[in-house]
């Protein structure tokens, strides 16, 4: 069971090895602890809607496991725990100008970071109109702290994987927050204890943001190993106040990972069959739903599937220019795409849903033996598409329109002639809404005006935007600097697609959508559809070929089947 797997991991994290280590004598003063205002802004952070479409969790075993065990070692650990796979290398403290001196007035979101002990020169970070244009990777890592704006945190965590793997980033963070503590003597211990606690609070808050925005990163064992070592540090006596927060963070993370696993189990391959006999009875008309009801159900399915797509999947799947090669020759070149960190396929599953819906609509139409009936099915789908538009569900709308434009459906002249004039008119209007002139100007305007709770952006447009945003500029600028402008652009596109989740705003997430109607759910998710050649063959059965080109096509189809 998935949840037990993760639970055991976390449990292990909270119980295992408490290596007591007396800190060595200090060689330099410890850094100033972060001010409390650095943390305060985040305490009321809403949790993010991530995979809440399922009522996935009704087993209290895990809770009792985590809560009951708490951190059992708390009484035995008297000193600072130094454990885990992190190399705590104390870095040289160099007096340098504070970050704020290089900030333009427009930037408020970045308070002074007390731990900026590397020289902050102008070249470390560059701003234009208050926006970060480029920066060194280390500067960005240092800016990743509780006081940072949510959109910065989201953007950087999202795009960090173009430069380093999540576990490498977490390791960098740990180094940043834990440095110097292995160099203190007994005299400073008391002071230090407080400082270390403040550091830990900051780290746990960053971790909380990270786990709520990108929970799937924590599927990686290397990331979890680091989380374990952080948890172990929290086990020390003086860490009591941060323990609850750490434990809540882990619980929420576990919930999300468990929900993910259950969702993955619910995904079945799209069934495509090659003959009409293999299809089950019934179609959109026998379903007995009004177009409004069906559009609502479609939107629930869309939002459900979308809620499980990790934001990082967009960058992992679409952004990299060079997918890694297994050849040894590639080892020397820098691979942008850390495929070994990609452990989810929810984006692919969501894209496949789009295809499935198109085939479902086309199959539904072609199933009808009589042209009059097929015309009614078409009308019903067009009306459903219209209601999808009203809800702002552009993804379903596009899938329906694509289906109606598939050649097996489009060529049915007799059928189309039997649809009502209103139907044709509506279809043309809907087509106009998603047609691509001016970089989809109409669609983008309509999306901006759509109700946020039910708006489902066009995934294909997002993918295209991301592709070109990635191709249009390099990830790294001269001097190995991070092209943060590009990161911001990628982040903007991902946030637009996941707007219903409100990843980068402080608004509370939308409530879970209403649960779907079971029979409709089965109809939309489980029902087999015809393959493409089968659709063509059936289409020629319904209305015979009209010219020599179609006759040739039919001959070829029969020959290959």
């Amino acid at each position: 069971m998935a949840m037990y797997y993760y639970a055991s991991k976390l449990n292990e994290a909270s119980c295992s090895g408490c290596n007591i280590k007396v800190p060595p004598a200090p060689t330099e003063p410890a850094p100033v602890p972060p001010t409390s205002s650095n943390h305060a802004s985040l305490t009321s952070d809403p949790t993010l809607l991530h995979g809440t479409g399922l009522s996935y969790y009704d087993n209290d075993d895990y809770y009792s496991m985590v809560r009951g065990n708490k951190f059992m070692s708390e009484n035995s650990c008297k000193h600072i725990v130094m454990n885990g796979g992190i190399n705590f290398v104390a870095t040289q403290k160099v007096e340098g100008p504070q970050l704020s001196t290089v900030l333009t007035p427009g930037v408020k979101a970045i308070p002074n970071h007390p731990y900026t002990n590397c020289t902050t020169e102008k070249s470390d970070i560059e701003y234009r109109d208050g926006q970060i244009v480029s920066a060194t990777l280390d500067t960005l890592v240092e800016m990743l702290r509780p006081g940072a704006s949510k959109s910065f945190t989201f953007t950087f965590l999202l795009c960090s994987r173009l430069y380093l793997k999540p576990h490498e980033l977490l390791s960098k963070l740990c180094k940043l927050y834990f440095r110097n503590y292995d160099k203190v003597g007994k005299a400073e211990v008391k002071d230090l204890v407080e400082k270390e606690l403040n550091d830990m609070i900051a780290l746990v808050r960053v971790l909380r943001q990270w786990t709520s925005m990108f929970p799937y990163d924590f599927r990686d064992d290397r990331v979890m190993a680091l989380v374990r070592s952080i948890t172990q540090r929290c086990a020390a006596e003086h860490m009591e106040s941060v323990r609850v927060e750490m434990s809540t963070t882990l619980e929420k993370l576990l919930d999300k990972l468990t929900a993910l696993e259950q969702y993955e189990e619910s995904l079945v391959d799209i069934t495509q069959v090659s003959s009409l006999d293999q299809l089950s009875q019934g179609d959109i008309l026998t379903l007995g739903l009004t177009p409004v009801e069906l559009a609502n159900q479609l939107t629930i399915v869309e939002l459900h599937r979308l809620s499980f797509v990790g934001p990082e999947e967009f960058v992992q799947t679409f952004a990299p220019i060079h997918p890694p090669q297994s050849t040894s020759a590639c080892k020397t070149s820098i691979s942008l795409h850390h495929i070994d960190t990609k452990c989810t396929r929810n984006l692919e599953a969501y894209a496949d849903w789009f295809n499935r819906l198109s085939y479902l609509v086309a199959t539904d139409i072609l199933k009808g033996v009589k042209s009059k009936y097929r015309a009614r099915v078409i009308e019903q789908w067009v009306m459903t598409g219209r209601e999808c538009f009203n809800l702002g569900n552009f993804n379903s709308l596009m899938a329906i329109i694509s289906a109606l434009n598939m050649s097996p459906v489009m060529r049915l002249k007799k059928t189309w002639s039997r649809t009502s004039a209103v139907c044709g008119q509506q279809l043309r209007q809907l087509e106009l809404c998603v047609e691509p002139t001016g970089n989809h100007a109409r669609y983008r305007a309509a999306l901006a005006a759509a109700p946020t709770e039910t708006a489902v952006p066009l995934l294909s447009v997002t993918c295209r935007d991301l592709h070109f945003a990635n191709q249009g500029s390099p990830s790294r600028l001269s001097g190995n600097r991070v092209n943060f402008e590009k990161c911001a652009l990628l982040s903007k596109h991902v946030s637009t697609q996941l707007a219903s989740r409100r990843l980068t705003t402080d608004q509370s997430p939308t409530p879970a959508p209403p649960s779907p109607h079971p029979s409709v759910w089965r109809y939309l998710n489980d029902r087999p559809t015809l393959t493409e050649p089968a659709l063509e063959l059936v289409s020629f059965e319904r209305e015979p070929p009209v010219d020599h080109l179609e006759k040739e096509r039919l001959k070829r189809l029969r020959g290959s089947s």
């Binding site: 789009f354 295809n355 087509e431 989809h440 592709h467 945003a469």
Partner: protein
């Protein structure tokens, strides 16, 4: 409006994601662009007008990149396409194997007389090569399609590929025109709307893709 060209060809780049379709397109098309251009205006297709035997031929090149997985959408790109570049990556065996699937896809969705050409891209990365030039040639012979290895990075053979495809389309059109209109007239000069006329004209078939 005065026409600045004699014919318009709609071309399409297809192939697996990551094979470098967009790089080929950027390499070939005239105008450079930057990141803000993309975010504000976006790209529907790229245009380049070339000179073919004294005729101005406007190439309108569509790129399916980023949308490879949306079957019913990529299919819509095929309509009205007169030439298709099938692109694979010589450092990626899988992308080469998939060329056959893309050809099947073309047969199912594109007009029967569409001109095709296979491009083995990224041939500058010789040390990482997984697909030999001979295998590419072999496949091309099997399907009777022209083939060339390209490098968008080093600008190798990209021009040649587009000129070759455009020339083949032009030759086919002229042949067709002569067959239907043997008494002559101004052969070689075609209306830009000489797209596949049998398909009903909707916004999808007008070549606009999502």
């Amino acid at each position: 409006m005065a026409k600045t060209y004699d014919c318009l060809f709609k071309l399409l780049l297809i192939g697996d994601s990551g094979v470098g379709k967009t790089s080929i397109l950027f390499r070939f098309s005239e105008d450079a662009f930057n990141i803000s251009f993309i975010s504000t205006i976006g790209i529907d297709f790229k245009i380049r007008t070339i000179d073919l035997d004294g005729k101005k031929v406007k190439l309108q090149i569509w790129d399916t990149a980023g949308q490879e997985r949306f079957r019913t959408i990529t299919t819509a790109y095929y309509r009205g396409s007169m030439g298709i570049m099938l692109v694979y990556d010589v450092t990626n065996e899988k992308s080469f194997e998939n060329i056959k699937n893309w050809i099947r896809n073309i047969e199912e969705n594109a007009s029967a007389d569409v001109e095709k050409m296979i491009l083995g891209n990224k041939c500058d990365l010789d040390s990482q090569r997984q697909v030999s030039k001979e295998r590419g040639e072999q496949l091309a012979i099997e399907y009777q399609i022209k083939f060339v290895e390209t490098s968008a990075k080093d600008s190798l053979n990209v021009e040649y590929a587009f000129y070759t495809l455009a020339r083949d389309i032009k030759a086919k059109m002229e042949k067709k025109q002569e067959a239907s209109n043997p008494s002559g007239g101004r052969s070689g000069v075609h209306k830009p709307t000489l797209n596949d006329a049998r398909k009903p004209v909707t916004w999808l078939s007008r070549c606009s893709v999502l």
